[in-house]
Symmetry: C2
Subunit: 354 residues, 2 copies
Amino acid sequence: MARSSQHDSTTLQPERARPSPRPSKEMSIDDVAEQAGVSVATVSRVLNGHSNVRAETREKVLAAVEQSGYRVNELARNLRTAESRLLLTMVPNFGNPFYAEIVRGIDSVARQHGYFMLLCDTGADPGRERSYFEMLRRRRADGAICLDPAAAQQALSDELNTLPWVACCEFDADVGVPYVGIDNYRAAGDAVMHLLSRGHKRIALINSGDGYLFAQQRERGYLDALHNAGIDPDPRWQVHLDSLDYEAGASAAAILMAQSEPPTAIFTVSDTLAIGVVKGLRSIGRRVPDDVAVVGFDDISLAAQIDPPLTTIAQPMRELGETAARLLLKRLANRTANVPGVLLPHRLMVRASA
Amino acid sequence: MARSSQHDSTTLQPERARPSPRPSKEMSIDDVAEQAGVSVATVSRVLNGHSNVRAETREKVLAAVEQSGYRVNELARNLRTAESRLLLTMVPNFGNPFYAEIVRGIDSVARQHGYFMLLCDTGADPGRERSYFEMLRRRRADGAICLDPAAAQQALSDELNTLPWVACCEFDADVGVPYVGIDNYRAAGDAVMHLLSRGHKRIALINSGDGYLFAQQRERGYLDALHNAGIDPDPRWQVHLDSLDYEAGASAAAILMAQSEPPTAIFTVSDTLAIGVVKGLRSIGRRVPDDVAVVGFDDISLAAQIDPPLTTIAQPMRELGETAARLLLKRLANRTANVPGVLLPHRLMVRASA
DNA sequence: TTGAAAGCGCTAACAG
DNA sequence: CTGTTAGCGCTTTCAA
């Protein structure tokens, strides 16, 4: 509604009297050089902050840049320097709030180092995932952080391990790929031990499909903790889901409770599942924690908000992301550097649900 | 494990007996051309699926590509074709589940058209936001979809409107930028009218800060609906928050209910807020909907999961994203095309909370 | 149907 | 301190 005038245009035409810098034809470094009366090399130097330029010359260049509205063409720069300064982050499902904070951590470290992060939702589909690794090969991205299960598992058999990437959360320590995550085995054990200490004996596990490495690790933790307590885990207490959605948790809970001797506690490998469980329990008239205790996993921000607030295993999500990014950057800086695998501490958050 | 021989090469290192294609030195199109005994032009043609290549020649090239493990260098291709095939999506806070589904919609349309989507979390910070628009100017991305408030508002005053971007959800129809969103004014009215029809008179509004355009629009809708019902809105019923977090909703509810004549219903401009409200209400002993009714906004997947299930205004999130992407693609394909603003329908989801 | 050659816009030797 | 110049790897006329 304000100053409109300026575009009745359509390209091809003169198009005069534009507001200041915006040039009608895209400028190149040559134009700037000419306008400043120097060579392109000099322009490049000041643009890249090299010190070997006389102050006076620098001023001239800066002035020309300023008043021409010139912007460096990163496409050209990328080709020349042979790097895209883009990092890929692959997540199986970025609608899951668990990933949000991790991705934030990655993003913040990346941009701190002059990289941009490209977020890719793979849907845990190996096909999609491969297509993203393909981007690496085509030099569209410099490196990748993968939160996806498939890659971690195929790293051995593939030439995947020659690509610059690191695994986050989903990792196999025996493969040659740098990783960061938590000790899922021990974390699951801690959760179960908490339930045990509350007097529960019939403790169920709601797990995701075993496509996930963490699922296997947590299941072993659960099983061993039970065994160590002298309890023989009933197979009927274990359910495997192919989803981490709220809904999946709700229906799993209902099924679990329909048994003749239903569990008195449920350990779930994800808070989203646990939230669904709580809702499912409620809808069949069971109270939490009085009738059945629930413990989740991850400690997403929602966990403390629901009713009752969720007891859960907290993962240091932000740090997981930051660490992953640092590992990757390190690999990028030095291809031959020995980048380690790192395990970050988890923590049991005792709230009202168990 | 197959045919290995060909490169024990590498410039400096031994490193022999590598698995198949993976070349130790990066291959270029010249290498492929040489290996296939044709010119680079021909290689380029088959790589790009041009039809004017003899079948036999094509085979030769493909074979060379295959067994050299060659991958096109997109950096070079980008420079040459002057496009990055990258789209930016700017969200104020991608931890908010509302954005997840929208982003999915964008992503799916983008990749369907051979583009990749770069997700950018701006934190609703105009500075960060500008830095992303800067990427457009530097040709690091071809276009952008912005879910952020600031851009929509500055589009007028700036040369922002010459850049290839579209607004999604946050838009000002009077500015020259293509947009997609819902009719926030009417949607808010619908929510209030629902509450009215349930007999409520003292209806509170929990709004976000007025940095958001939708906040202003929904507030007007709320106010007018009340007026139209002959109710004079008490200013004490309106609270403005600078956050959409669960926590913010919880404390706002407590404050609201501490008044001498507290509201009997609360309309909230976001489900995340509403979920916090429900929790806040519960923690001060108020029941929903018996003591106070709550209606949210967005219909994120969680809305149906909480206790009680949330009555809310559903936004067609997936479609919002898809439409935004299509508008942008259209603009990209034809800079002078007249890309319209589009409004998608919302829907009141009546559940148990109101 | 194919090849030769001219750049895309930039950075980085190498000279001066 | 500054300029000249040679490419980065690809696509695309233009000729053959």
